[in-house]
């Protein structure tokens, strides 16, 4: 009963078919992340940095266990539990509006779990991805129907609305990007995608006027003209100075003067990339970019080779989630994207995010294990 999913499929040689490349790249990134997080938080160990580092390591260990556990599950069981999973996560998301909700950096999107804090929108993304994947598959099989379309749109807009209510603009952008990539990969007709994008663009002026106003807008735009928005762009200017001063080889591990001198704001989460580049130079920064690129392309390959549209769409959704996080986080460190407060996956401080990230890797591994045979590579 427990392994019914596997029993339905062919017998799988787990050791031979395990996606060593994906898991390997992720583990290398995580290891580099832990090393630099130690450096970034070293000066805070006296306060509560030590416990944060413990939570981070615990998150990595638990995450790896979660990933390995889920990769043996057949991801297709999520077809059946996607609704309860989705509704449960929606419920947890509503908890941030209760007294156990916590406001951080202006967004009320965390809940207090005493040991650590948890951001419900993290798992919400995956619940949304699975739900949408299921109905995209149905559209692929049965053609576009009204109920499928409504479920997909509702499945996207409800969490998006909640995230906007939490004033978490960065997360909202992640949801939007996931949704767009999924319907694109899920073979929704281009004209239909065009309608959705058109509708979205039509909403932009309203968002601009009523949602993104005042300080929020100045902060959002500060990256375009750091000199004009001096008050908001300090974080950005410091990050760019730190990155640039790292030059080719960096100042050396634990030797970054701006890191040591606590001159980089939120250096353990949003600006961790600046610490890596200051201490490890272009070499470390570029290595992270290359590793992340390999990871992302491998995710796409998993999506391409997936056995069914459901798996392919899940993989594409997870790819989109990581891709946007990574591009946005690094982009805001180097001044090509607005500052929105998205962490760098597998690197930034955050135990619960680490577990969630590994959970999505577990899903990918599960899809990868059960892929179609030999699409690009005859193995």
């Amino acid at each position: 009963m427990r392994f019914s999913g596997i029993e339905r499929s062919q017998r799988i040689d787990y050791f031979r078919k395990f996606d060593y490349l994906l898991m390997g790249v992720v583990l290398i990134i995580t290891a580099i992340g832990l090393v630099f997080l130690h450096s970034a938080m070293y000066d805070m160990y006296a306060d509560n940095g030590a416990s944060a580092m413990t939570v981070q390591i615990a998150g990595v260990i638990l995450g790896i266990i979660v990933a390995l556990f889920f990769c043996f599950f057949d991801y297709t069981i999520f077809r059946n539990v996607c609704f309860p999973f989705y509704v449960f996560n929606l419920f947890v998301m509503l908890l941030v509006f209760t007294p156990i909700g916590i406001e951080n950096y202006g967004s009320r999107s965390w809940i207090d779990l005493y040991v650590t804090t948890y951001q419900p929108s993290e798992l919400m993304k995956i619940a949304m991805i699975i739900l949408i994947a299921k109905y995209l598959e149905r559209i692929n099989e049965n053609g576009m129907t009204l109920d499928s379309a409504i479920i997909i749109l509702a499945g996207f807009f409800i969490p998006l609305g909640l995230v906007l209510l939490q004033k978490d603009l960065g997360m909202a952008l992640v949801f939007i990007f996931i949704f767009l990539v999924m319907i694109f990969v899920g073979n929704v007709k281009l004209w239909q995608i065009g309608i959705i994008i058109g509708g979205g663009l039509a909403a932009v002026p309203f968002v601009w006027k009523f949602y993104l106003n005042g300080v929020k807008r100045d902060r959002f735009l500060s990256f375009l003209n750091p000199d004009k928005y001096q008050d908001y762009s300090l974080q950005l200017r410091r990050a760019m100075t730190a990155i640039g001063s790292g030059q080719l080889f960096g100042k050396g591990y634990m030797q970054g003067p701006l890191n040591r001198g606590r001159k980089i704001p939120v250096k353990m989460s949003d600006m961790i990339f600046a610490v890596i580049c200051e201490e490890g130079g272009f070499i470390a920064g570029f290595a992270i970019v290359v590793l992340m690129t390999i990871m992302l392309l491998r995710m796409l390959q998993v999506s391409h080779r997936a056995r069914d549209v459901f798996g392919s769409c899940i993989a594409a959704g997870i790819f989109a989630m990581f891709a946007f996080n990574i591009f946005e986080n690094i982009g805001m460190n180097i001044g090509i994207m607005p500052i929105t407060g998205l962490p760098l996956p597998f690197v930034s401080k955050g135990g619960s995010a680490m577990v969630t990230n590994f959970f999505s890797i577990g899903l990918l591994l599960s899809i990868s294990l059960r892929n179609k045979k030999g699409m690009f590579i005859d193995d």
């Binding site: 073979n187 001063s245 570029f286 992340m292 594409a316 690094i330």
Partner: protein, 724 residues
């Protein structure tokens, strides 16, 4: 084999290009390449530059003081200057704590030895000999004590152990600061004065902590000579404003005081900081931008890698410009003394009929009719502006400031420009001018004065029966009936127009704060609550024509008005600043605007003749202008009624004049509050004229003034300075 491979490759490529995932992958690859390119640009191309930025991220701009400009009178007599003193500053220089403690003790001992004051924030909390300081002592301050103890306690459990001042002192000494045990309590307290400051405020490597604000040059020399013993401690020149003039000039000079938050917000872009001093009144305020100069800056930074403090760039301070006033201090002193003496005389002549002995304040303004230069401007009562220079810790001075602003006699008010007075009969000359200019009267037209006139069923009285009287005599004898009728003929609109043309009820444009005042007209009437439904009648015009009703003018307006009558109808802009001399020697001379009012010469001749005749006829004028030829000064008195004469308050005393009447040089206005009669003020004008012409042979029987205006050595020097 090869062909098969190519075909399969083709097939695969076709499949790939059809796949949407391929385009997603292409997109992410482009995005990541963009990131890599940007990274390359930031780190490799711009790397050097960012490295420099990073090194100087701990950047601080420090200001070096510059002396404020001096203020001189027109003859180069120093009125306001600066005292040079020294500040003792300390920055962090890495030394171990026992060395620092020893150094603190030496510094405080040195300052004590030299009798210098130094900052001691600890004194509020703990005093020496060990006791609670003023802020914490006493039963009622139990809560404050608790809060302070909570603040110094390192552990919660220590809070209960500290009960007395001695406990707190010992706790600080042994637990918090860990002083060497060999120090006595007195030594430990001295060390603690500085340790407590560095402990609560921190000790920066760049921004200095001020140990003492005002030490002598001798102390400075000792500290600098022993600099090896005092690493991180240095002295810096500071300048403290000093007023070396007497109190007669306080209203003109004004004073400097700490900037307030509104001024700071408005001026922070111009180099003011929260501790800046700023001119608050008088010339100090009017010439603030000239006097203050430009502070020097030193941009220092601490190298983020080595911790070494280096200087990035610096600018030299530019001292403020010196200001030369149009005021002659000797004339000013004479005018003030005359004013005070005259007020005393008036009080002494109390008769309880017209003079109730309640004269108490007044103002005298002397201007040059040719240029508008203000030669003297004295007020009584006055105040001592030195009280504003005392540090905020000087409680006596702070009390004096509070008392000054609460004094019912308003000594802080510059009556000459801010005192608003009814002017009475001195306005009649203006009525005469208006009537002649509007052509409603001729100079020889006579009006019958039978001691009173009835207008709109109201009786308006005159001071005598003048029978048939023409304009010159009417001015000289101040005939009310003549001016009632003349005024009504001219009309209130025309009177208002000409009063405005002579600058009455208008701001004169002098550099220091002034009020405009009010003229008699319907608009002013509307401002009066009691008269809001009143309709202007000829009866009101009649009242206005003798200077009663609503009009309120300042003494500076009156002297300017007298000057305009004297100089042939030119309205000057009175001014106090003659010139400014920059640090580099550049001289800027200020000349005031003169506006031709457009009065016919014949008109002014008539009015001037009236004023000369008044001086010739008046026994008091003859007495007060003794020594001068008959009719040397042309004047007009005014006795504006307060309306309280029946209740034991005197009328005011107003007098305007100019001299010499044949070739006018100066104009004088005198106002004495409750001075009983206009002629009482002539005495002040007489004294001023004697002071002005002291060494010219005029005003015989008086000692010649050594440095009278325009003839003294000082002024010649100043003139050569301007020409050079």
């Amino acid at each position: 084999m090869n062909k098969l491979f190519l075909n399969s490759l083709k097939e695969r490529l076709a499949k790939i290009f059809k796949s949407r995932i391929f385009y997603v992958g292409l997109g992410i690859t482009v995005a990541m390449t963009a990131i890599s390119a940007r990274l390359y640009y930031l780190q490799i191309v711009q790397g050097e530059q960012h490295k420099d930025n990073a090194a100087t991220i701990n950047k601080v701009v420090l200001y070096t003081e510059t002396p404020r400009g001096n203020i001189y009178d027109r003859n180069g007599i120093l009125l306001a200057t600066n005292r040079v003193a020294y500040k003792v500053q300390m920055v962090n220089v890495d030394r171990d704590q026992s060395f620092r403690d020893e150094m603190y003790l030496k510094v405080i001992n040195l300052l004590d030895e030299m009798g210098e004051d130094y900052n001691n924030p600890l004194k509020r909390y703990i005093d020496y000999p060990i006791a609670w300081g003023s802020y914490l002592e006493g039963e009622e301050n139990e809560d404050r004590r608790k809060a302070w103890i909570n603040g110094i306690a390192l552990r919660k459990s220590d809070r209960d152990k500290i009960n007395t001042a001695k406990d707190a002192f010992d706790y600080l000494r042994n637990v918090v600061f860990k002083f060497d045990e060999s120090y006595t309590d007195e030594e430990a307290y001295k060390i603690m004065i500085l340790r407590y400051q560095t402990y609560t405020m921190g000790l920066s490597y760049m921004v200095p902590l001020t140990i003492a604000d005002d030490v002598s040059s001798k102390t400075m020399e000792i500290i600098e000579a022993r600099h090896l013993e005092f690493p991180g401690i240095y002295t810096e020149e500071v300048y403290y404003r000093e007023y070396v003039h007497d109190e007669t000039l306080s209203h003109i000079i004004g004073y400097v005081r700490a900037i307030n938050s509104e001024e700071y917000e408005a001026l922070k872009d111009q180099g003011y900081d929260r501790n800046s001093l700023i001119g608050k009144n008088g010339i100090e305020r009017a010439a603030e931008s000239l006097l203050r100069g430009v502070k020097g800056t030193r941009t220092v930074y601490q190298d983020i890698e080595t911790g070494i403090v280096r200087e990035l760039e610096s600018t030299e301070p530019v001292p403020g410009d010196d200001i030369y006033l149009t005021i002659d201090v000797n004339l000013q002193r004479a005018a003030y003394d005359a004013l005070v003496k005259t007020i005393e005389d008036i009080i002494a002549r109390k008769d309880n009929k017209k003079n109730f002995g309640d004269a108490k304040a007044g103002s005298v303004v002397v201007t040059d009719v040719r240029t508008g230069e203000v030669l003297a401007m004295a007020n009584y009562p006055t105040y001592d502006n030195k009280i504003f220079l005392a540090p905020s810790s000087d409680e006596e001075a702070q009390k004096a400031i509070t008392e000054l602003f609460q004094d019912p006699d308003s000594p802080s008010l510059n009556r000459a420009t801010q005192g608003l007075y009814p002017v009475g009969s001195t306005f009649k000359t203006l009525v005469a001018i208006a009537a002649l200019e509007e052509g409603v009267m001729t100079p020889y037209q006579k009006i019958k004065c039978l001691g009173m006139i009835e207008v709109n069923n109201r009786v308006h009285r005159c001071n005598a029966y003048h029978y048939d009287i023409e304009m010159v005599r009417a001015i000289a004898e101040s005939c009310n009936v003549f001016f009632y009728e003349t005024g009504i003929k001219t009309g209130i609109r025309n009177l208002d127009k000409w009063a405005k043309a002579f600058g009455l009820g208008e701001k004169t444009g002098i550099e220091i704060p002034e009020y405009a005042g009010y003229r008699n007209n319907e608009e002013t009437m509307k401002l009066m609550e009691s008269d809001i439904y009143h309709v202007w009648t000829p009866s009101d015009t009649a009242q206005a024509s003798i200077g009663q009703l609503y009009n309120l003018f300042t003494p500076i307006q009156l002297s300017n008005y007298a000057a305009a009558i004297a100089n042939g109808g030119y309205l000057n802009t009175p001014h106090l600043i003659a010139a400014s001399v920059s640090n580099s020697g550049h001289v800027e001379k200020y000349e005031a605007e003169r506006k031709n009012i457009g009065v016919k010469e014949e008109t002014l001749k008539v009015v001037q003749e009236g004023m000369i005749t008044m001086s010739k006829l008046s026994g008091i004028a003859k007495r007060e202008y003794r020594g001068f030829p008959d009719g040397f000064a042309a004047g007009k008195t005014g006795t504006p009624q307060t309306g309280l004469e029946a209740f034991g308050r005197s009328s005011h005393s107003v007098y305007i004049c100019y001299a010499p009447s044949d070739n006018p040089e100066i104009a004088i206005s005198v106002v004495i509050e409750y001075g009983a009669s206009g002629s009482n003020s002539i005495a002040v004008a007489g004294e001023v004229l004697r002071a002005y012409y002291g060494d010219t042979g005029l005003g015989e029987g008086l000692p010649a003034r050594k440095d009278g205006l325009g003839f003294g050595d000082g002024f010649r020097n100043f003139k050569s300075l301007i020409q050079g």
